[in-house]
Symmetry: C2
Subunit: 403 residues, 2 copies
Amino acid sequence: MPEFLALDTATAIDYVRKIPGLFPPDADLACTEIGDGNINFVFIVKDNKTGRSAVIKQSLPYLRSSGKDRLLTVDRARIENEALQLEYEMCPDLVPAIYHTDLNNALTVMEDISDHLNLRKGLIQRRKYPNFARHIGLFLARTLFLTSDLALDGKAKKALLSRFINPEMCEITEKLVFTVPYYDAVTTKYTPGAAAAGAALRENDALKFEAARLKDGFLTRAQALLHGDLHTGSIFVTETSTKVIDPEFAYFGPMGFDIGAVIGNLVLNYAAQAYHSPTPAEREDYRRYLLTTIEEVWRTFETEFSRLWDEQTVEVTAQAPGYKEYYIRSVLQDACGYGGCKAIRRIGRAQVEDFKAIPDEAARAAAEVYALALGEAMVLRREGISRIEDLTEMVKGIPEPAL
Amino acid sequence: MPEFLALDTATAIDYVRKIPGLFPPDADLACTEIGDGNINFVFIVKDNKTGRSAVIKQSLPYLRSSGKDRLLTVDRARIENEALQLEYEMCPDLVPAIYHTDLNNALTVMEDISDHLNLRKGLIQRRKYPNFARHIGLFLARTLFLTSDLALDGKAKKALLSRFINPEMCEITEKLVFTVPYYDAVTTKYTPGAAAAGAALRENDALKFEAARLKDGFLTRAQALLHGDLHTGSIFVTETSTKVIDPEFAYFGPMGFDIGAVIGNLVLNYAAQAYHSPTPAEREDYRRYLLTTIEEVWRTFETEFSRLWDEQTVEVTAQAPGYKEYYIRSVLQDACGYGGCKAIRRIGRAQVEDFKAIPDEAARAAAEVYALALGEAMVLRREGISRIEDLTEMVKGIPEPAL
C-alpha cells in the first residue's frame, strides 16, 4: 500500500496539475484550504487565467488537532465518493460533479460550488430561496426511492447495501443523536438558562422510550441509501441552484432520517428566529416562510416519490391497495420523529450556529428551551401525524417561551 | 481456484480418511448419501468397527437434476458453515458440532445426528417431545438476542451483518413466502377442493396489504442473525435432545421470522391433525399438545430473552421504562404474522408432508382450507396479540371446515 499523501496548499496544486484535462498546462493556479472540520482537508484550487476551479476533499486518517498518532480509517472517503457518484447519477443538478477519484489518498476532486452559500448561513441571514424546497424534495424522493427495495430487486439492493456498511460514521450518529441527549449529563452543555430543560430530557420516560424506538429503527431498518447527515450545513444554495455535499455518513437506514434531518434543521432555525433581532413583522414573515418551506419539501417529496412508485416499482407486493399511502404516511411519521431527535441533538454540546448567532444569553436560552419543546413534540406526537400540515400546525401550536 | 470436487460415496470415504483425528487409520468406513434436496449432497460416513460416524454436507454449484450446466454460487456453503459455528458457540447442545470445514469444495463435516428424528415426521406420527419446546425457545432467545444490537455494539453488529448478506437464499424466501401465494396463480397448486380458498388469497386486499408490510420487514429489518429457514424439517429431535440444522438461509432479519417459522409449522401440523386418522380423543389430545408446545416455546423464549436483556444489554437506550416489554410484544406480533405467512406459503406448491400424509383428498383439501384460514388470521389479527395465549386462543377459535 503506497504511503498516504496528506496534501497542503502547495502539493494540492502539484496534484491537480497531474490530472489530465482538468486545468490547461499553463494554468496560473492558486490554492486555499477552507475545511472547518477536524478530520478532513478541503482545498479550492483556482486558475487565475481562466477562472476555472475545483475542490479537493481529502479525508485524514488522524485528527488534525491531535497530530498523526490517532488513527481513523479513511473508508469514509470511499463511501463519500461512491455516494456522491450515485447521487449525481440520480440528481445530476443537485450534487457536485466528480472530476477525479484517488482512494489511496482518500480524496475526491470535484466541482467547486463556492458560488453557493451554506443554507444554514442563508437561513440565519433570513434569506429566501425560491427553489430550495423543490430541489431538496426531488433529491430526497429520487435518492430514497431509487435505492430502496421498491426500485431494486433483492440482489441489486443487497449488493448496494454491502458497499455502504459504515460502522465508524454510524457510531457517531448512534451516540450523539440518540443516546447522549437522554443519558449523558456530562457531555451535554446547554446555555445556563436552558440547563433545566436539558436535564428534564433525562427524566422524561416517554421521550426516552420513543428515542429508543427511533434508535432501533436507525440501527436496523435498511430501507434506502441515506445521505446520513442532511442538515442545512450540508446543503449549499443560490437563488436558482441547490447542491448537496458531504455524504460521508451514507448508509442504508430509514428514509425518514434524511427527510427528518432537513425538517428538523428548518425547525431549529424557526425556533432561533423567534429570538432574532429585527421587527416582529420581519421575524414572523420569515418564520412563516420556514413552515411553508417544510410543507413544500414534503409535498415535493410526496409527489415525486408517488410518481416514481407508480412508474418504476419492481416490488410486486407494493401494488396492494392502500399500501403506497400507508408507506408514505409511515415515512412522514418517521421524518417527524427523526426530525425531532435531530433538533434535540443540536441543542447543547453540538450547538448549531442558528443559536450561537443570538447574542443575548437569556434570549439564546429561551430559544434552546423552545427548540427542545418542539423536538420533543415531534418525537412524542409523530404517530398522530398523517399530513404535513399536521406537523406544521403542531409546531405553530407550541408557544415560544417569553423572555 | 482449485477445481471443485463433487463427492460421491466412494470419494467421500477417501476424503474423510484424510481429516486428521476424525477416524482411526484402520477404520472400516461405509458411506451412504441421504440428501433429499436438489442442490446439496449429504453423506453419512460410518466406521463399522467403532460405530463412530460423521456427516458431510456439500453444496453444489449446479442442480443435481439438471446436470452440471446450471450454475449457482456456493456462497451459501460458507454462510451455512459460519452460521452453524456461531449457533454452536451460543447453543452448543442444540447444533451439530463441526469437525472440518472446506469452503473450496463448499463442504462441512459435522456431527452425525441421525439418531434424531426429523421433527416434522415426529409430529406427523403424533409423537410428543417433552424437551423440544424448551430447547427451541432457548435456541431462539440466545441466537436472536446475542446477534442483535442489544448485545453487540454498532461496529461488531455491522461486521457480523456484512458476513451474512445472503441475496440468493433471501430471494427464494422473498418470492415464495411473500409474493407467490398472493400474486402467482400459475405456480400455486392446491388440492382441487382447496383451489377456491387459494384463489381467494389473491383477491384478499387486506391480506395482501399485510403481506406487503411483512415482506418489507423481511427485506429491511436487520434485527438479528436469523436461521432463516427454521421450519420443523430443519429441527431434529429425540426424547431428550434437539438439534437445529441447515442454516443456509441465515441473514440479518426480523426476529419474529424465525420464531414465526416454528410457530407457523406447528400450526400447520395442528391443522393437518384435525383430519388425521385415529380416534377424535387421540386427535384432540395431540392438538392440545401442539398448542401447549407453541405456548411453551414462546414462554421459554420470552423468559430467556428477558433474562439476557437484564443481564447483557449493551444498548443504553434499552433501559427506557417499558421498552423491553414493548420490544418483546412487537417480536410476538411479528412472530404471529410471519408464522401466518409461513403457514400460507406451505399450502399449495411447496406443500409439506403434514398434508401429503392425509390420504383422503377431500380431507386433505379441508385441512388446506383450514390452514389457510389459520394463517390468514395470524397475519391479519397479529397486532391485537399481546400474550401468547391470545394467539393460541385465536387459533382455537377458528373452527375446522366440516368434511
